[in-house]
Symmetry: C2
Subunit: 278 residues, 2 copies
């Protein structure tokens, strides 16, 4: 058990350099800076410490509101002793973060190793379910994709080079930590990513209101299925729509397309059922 | 066609009282103040002017970035002549709004008549599809519910007294204006709302990870179906879970429940198919 003076260090000065990474966290985002990212809340901290053990991500330091310490002792028990845990009063914590942090739980994470696309694709199981995203820069949508990928048992998320980093604070929070549990890779063109998956034997299905098949008609391909989502405004590039199969989600005519995160969630739900994953 | 000096008034002073409602719109929210609300963007303005004609909502004034005027002349053509349309430079507009308003389209709306629950329920068609929300205070989730209610042909949305106002700026924006097109009522306890629907002959289905039926097993009841969503943390109150039928959305075991907006979207998609609405 961590107690003050023994594994727990009190911070009284918001300008203390030991907690510099948590300063004004709304105003800047660490994502992309040497793979570091901000963890918020009990659930995501728990997932991050589990991921720490698995080797893909590390927890570098933790900053807690003083009255939250007791409630997370079970999580702290899984944190290596050399990871510093800081504690602060509500006034000091709010001054550090730059806003009222009612959750009272912050941590600094680091991606230990950039995920390797080749290794990720090699590890895909039979009847894999993969999400591939093209140009999704909205943090809510990226977060929702990971949360739903976890909920419906997707084996991987692939983000093309024009997607935002899923370790952005808001994306990670919206994913409820699933960015740390669902294998993913980011980079390259959407066409190159999809061609790699097709070579591996997956059937590629672009999601679009103009898709030729109804989502529910997609057969449970033995080689697995990759669902491709584009942005709400632009949709998928023409080269993707013409090169691969396309499916639509039934909806009332004459309306805007669904939100990109919602469309991906419904497609994952439907395909996970077709594949008998849920 | 509205041109400057003829139906179009230039604003040069950000403190001009004629556009006071648009000042610092991020910092305050008009919703609930005499039924007034802020409209942003072309799509929502178009829906608001259509709703203006239908009598449920009125557009009171419009404020445009000068270079956006030409692009919305078709919308302005549908706006009554006594609705003032103001135009401003980018610098003045940003100073009014309090942030960089890249869409460049703002309007002030007003709910003309508070929707009447009785009238709304009386107007429900055969095989109605209704969403009932309990305690949803997150603007994103409320907005998503309306957007999906529109996409999947729901006939009404009922919000209990603990839900937030769907006319909040962010909720309306996330709904892509569907708050102005999908009939809704807000107020009363969730139990009283559901009992009214049950009296009207609708089958009530509470959505919960602990639901007894799989969502897909819900029969296409002749009297219609009401789907009930609670908050992610608390779920539905026990009195609702025990009083009505409950259904679950299949997902992988051992994970958090789905986001409330996402769960409602998937349920609407599934039931709209069962009811052959899509």
């Amino acid at each position: 058990m961590r107690v003050e003076g023994n594994g727990l260090t009190r911070i009284d000065d918001p300008a203390d350099p030991r907690i510099a990474e948590f300063r004004d966290i709304k105003e800047r985002d660490l994502a992309g800076r040497q793979g570091r990212f901000i963890i918020e809340g009990t659930v995501v901290l728990r997932m991050a410490t589990a991921a720490h053990g698995a080797g893909a991500f590390a927890v570098e330091k933790i900053l807690l509101l003083e009255n939250r310490v007791d409630g997370v002792q079970d999580i702290l028990a899984g944190v290596p002793e050399d990871v510093p845990v800081y504690v602060a009063s509500s006034a000091v914590l709010d001054a550090i973060a730059g806003f009222h942090l009612h959750r009272g739980i912050l941590a600094l994470g680091r991606r230990v190793a950039e995920p390797e696309l080749d290794a990720l694709i090699d590890r895909l199981p039979e009847r894999a379910l993969v999400v591939a995203a093209c140009g999704i820069s909205n943090h809510d949508n990226i977060g929702a994709m990971f949360r739903n990928a976890a909920a419906f048992g997707a084996d991987a998320v692939l983000l093309d080079e024009t997607c935002c980093d899923p370790l952005y604070r808001k994306a990670l929070r919206v994913s409820v930590g699933s960015v740390l549990s669902v294998p993913y890779a980011r980079g390259g063109s959407i066409l190159s990513l999809l061609e790699r998956l097709a070579e591996r034997g997956l059937s590629i299905w672009g999601l679009s209101p103009a898709g030729t098949a109804d989502l529910r008609e997609i057969p449970p391909e033995a080689g697995g299925i990759a669902l491709v989502t584009g942005t709400e405004g632009e949709g998928l590039p023409r080269v993707i729509m013409s090169r691969f199969s396309t499916a639509r989600i039934s909806q009332r005519p004459g309306l805007d397309s669904l939100n990109a995160g919602m469309a991906t969630g419904i497609a994952l739900y439907e395909i996970a059922r077709i594949q008998q994953k849920i």
